[in-house]
């Protein structure tokens, strides 16, 4: 992930926390919240940002006396996973009015694009995206900030860990990994939230996701931004 992209994610997160801080300063009453010891179902669309998965150079042994010949570059390949939209579903359980634990499942089909360069016999070019079927199962905790940001809007912060599964096109090969994320967002109650009625509302999340393993040509930890817009409902 580029530094610029990281800074953008950091600004978004700071924005969420600033909203929360402002709400605390302005709030004068308890706002809506989830019902304690009740289940919440959440579902919607998600977008995961793109990130680099490695530069690789196809090299041949150089030709010189001894063993120290510099390598000969055949070509260079820079690969990245593109941003992609997907779907996400979550099941939460409110341990308290402000604290819930959640299990989530997200699915997206990002593509891998590769830029080829430094080939003396061919012009730089990009090869088409190889599609991945990507699944993330995570367990998270979300803490709703105790003061409303504005009216029926309540910010929260969240963090979680998860399992990443990425399958190549035709499902011929699978790569797995782990993800960790921190983030935040806000819930907006369309109905309920007073502790008596079932809640129904909208939820928006912004996350910074850290990934270990999975599809990566350098075996490095990667970071990508993710955003989702979902509806939540207390059945």
């Amino acid at each position: 992930m580029s530094g610029a992209r990281l800074r953008a994610v950091a600004r978004l997160l700071c924005g969420c926390l600033c909203i929360a801080g402002t709400a605390q300063a302005q709030g004068g009453r308890e706002g809506p919240s989830l019902r304690r010891h009740h289940v919440t179902l959440t579902g919607g669309v998600t977008w995961t940002g793109g990130y680099a998965i490695g530069d690789a150079t196809a090299q041949l042994r150089g030709n010189a006396v001894g063993t120290s010949a510099p390598p000969f570059t055949l070509f260079r390949a820079e690969s990245a996973i593109d941003g992609a939209a997907g779907v996400e579903a979550r099941v939460g359980y409110a341990l308290a009015r402000h604290l819930s634990i959640e299990v989530g499942l997200a699915h997206a089909r990002p593509g891998i694009t590769t830029e080829l360069s430094q080939d003396e016999e061919a012009s730089p070019m990009a090869i088409d995206a190889e599609r991945l079927a990507q699944y993330v199962i995570d367990v998270a905790a979300a803490w709703q900030l105790p003061r409303p940001a504005a009216g029926r809007l309540r910010p929260f912060v969240a963090g979680g860990v998860g399992y990443l599964r990425q399958l190549y096109d035709e499902r011929t090969l699978v790569e797995t990994g782990r993800i960790y994320y921190v983030g935040g967002g806000a819930r907006y109650w369309l109905r309920g939230g007073d502790g008596r009625q079932r809640s129904l509302g909208l939820r928006g999340d912004v996350r910074a996701t850290f990934r270990q393993d999975g599809v990566d040509f350098e075996g490095r930890t990667r970071v990508w931004p993710a955003m989702s817009v979902m509806m939540f409902w207390e059945p």
């Binding site: 041949l60 030709n63 001894g66 055949l74 390949a77």
Partner: protein, 331 residues
């Protein structure tokens, strides 16, 4: 050193008609309507070393170089390759005497050939019966650990010839340039089995590369391990028609390995086997970095530009990719 040495070719002489069936190349032998791999059915394979000294290399140094090459090939994981040293012999490394012999031989007539391997095989099964390898005394040799400028590294060439001894043909993973006095100079090599030797004094070809080990695994894989690798298959076409003799290279960006293959039929089909499972970038190039005869016989098409497969191709564990179509344009 003479300049000729630098561009000398290491060639193989197969007594059987070489009809390569798959990538790298392997030698194949036609029995009826099918082509079988030329390989040893026994392991370990016994061999003798001729007791003659070579120019710049004693017989003991030569024996050690041969032993080192044998160990290097045997060390390819997941294969049944094995060699067994039987001792020195006075028998020359030529002629069919029931012994596999490696040694120096005077071949001033072959002024571009560092070494050569002769294979005798069973016409009923395609199994190897005998192999002899000679190293040409026309050239100055060296067994020095760091190499000697102007002298050909015996360990590197023995390792190459042992590949032929096992039934492997030449790899085309390498880049060369033509020189004014004729012949070619190697710019880079991606396989010990590349047919043109590195500059005399280089010892870089003492270690096998991914293409060499893939070839060895393809020919001599332990049966239980065959499911651990994958293959990529496809077709190279120009103007809608198959291209014969195109060099196809699979590059694994996760490991940096390069494994090559060839289109070996008129309809341009290729298979690259024994690949570490994963996604590959596929590059196609004309066979123009060495004499075409070093690899294939027949009407090889070299009139096309370098091209890439339109997407990455996955070699699945224990299986094969779907067919990949790669279109090339004339030069």
């Amino acid at each position: 050193m003479t300049r000729v040495v630098a561009f000398a070719m290491v060639v193989v002489t197969a007594l059987a008609h070489p009809a390569p069936a798959l990538a790298y190349l392997k030698f194949g032998f036609r029995i009826g309507d099918r082509t079988v791999d030329v390989r040893w059915s026994m392991a370990p394979v016994p061999y003798f070393v001729n007791e003659r000294d070579g120019p710049g290399v004693t017989s003991a140094e030569f024996r050690d170089a041969v032993a080192g090459a044998a160990v290097t090939w045997q060390a390819v994981a997941g294969t049944t390759i094995g060699f067994q040293y039987q001792g020195f012999t006075v028998a020359p490394p030529a002629g069919m005497d029931g012994r596999n012999t490696l040694g120096f031989l005077d071949r001033p007539d072959l002024d571009r050939v560092l070494g050569s391997t002769s294979l005798l095989l069973d016409a009923a099964t395609g199994s190897l019966i005998e192999a002899d390898v000679f190293f040409n005394t026309r050239f100055p040799w060296s067994a020095a650990p760091q190499g000697v400028p102007g002298r050909v590294d015996i360990a590197s060439v023995v390792l190459h010839e042992f590949g032929h001894f096992l039934g492997l043909g030449h790899s085309a993973i390498g880049e060369t340039e033509r020189i004014a006095t004729g012949g070619r100079r190697v710019l880079g090599s991606g396989a010990v089995m590349f047919p043109i030797a590195l500059t005399p004094g280089s010892v870089s070809d003492r270690t096998l590369q991914a293409d060499d080990t893939a070839a060895a695994m393809d020919l001599y894989a332990v049966e239980a391990d065959r499911g651990e690798t994958g293959s990529i298959r496809g077709r190279v076409v120009k103007h809608g028609r198959g291209v014969f003799g195109a060099h196809v290279v699979a590059f694994n960006p996760a490991t940096g390995s390069l494994v090559g293959g060839f289109t070996l039929s008129a309809d341009g089909q290729f298979v690259i086997a024994a690949l570490v499972p994963g996604p590959y970038i596929i590059r196609v190039e004309p066979l123009d970095d060495a004499d075409v005869e070093s690899f294939l016989s027949g009407e090889v098409d070299v009139d096309f530009k370098v091209a890439y497969a339109p997407r990455m191709v996955v070699a699945p564990r224990g299986g094969s990719s779907g067919d990949v179509a790669i279109t090339v344009e004339p030069k």
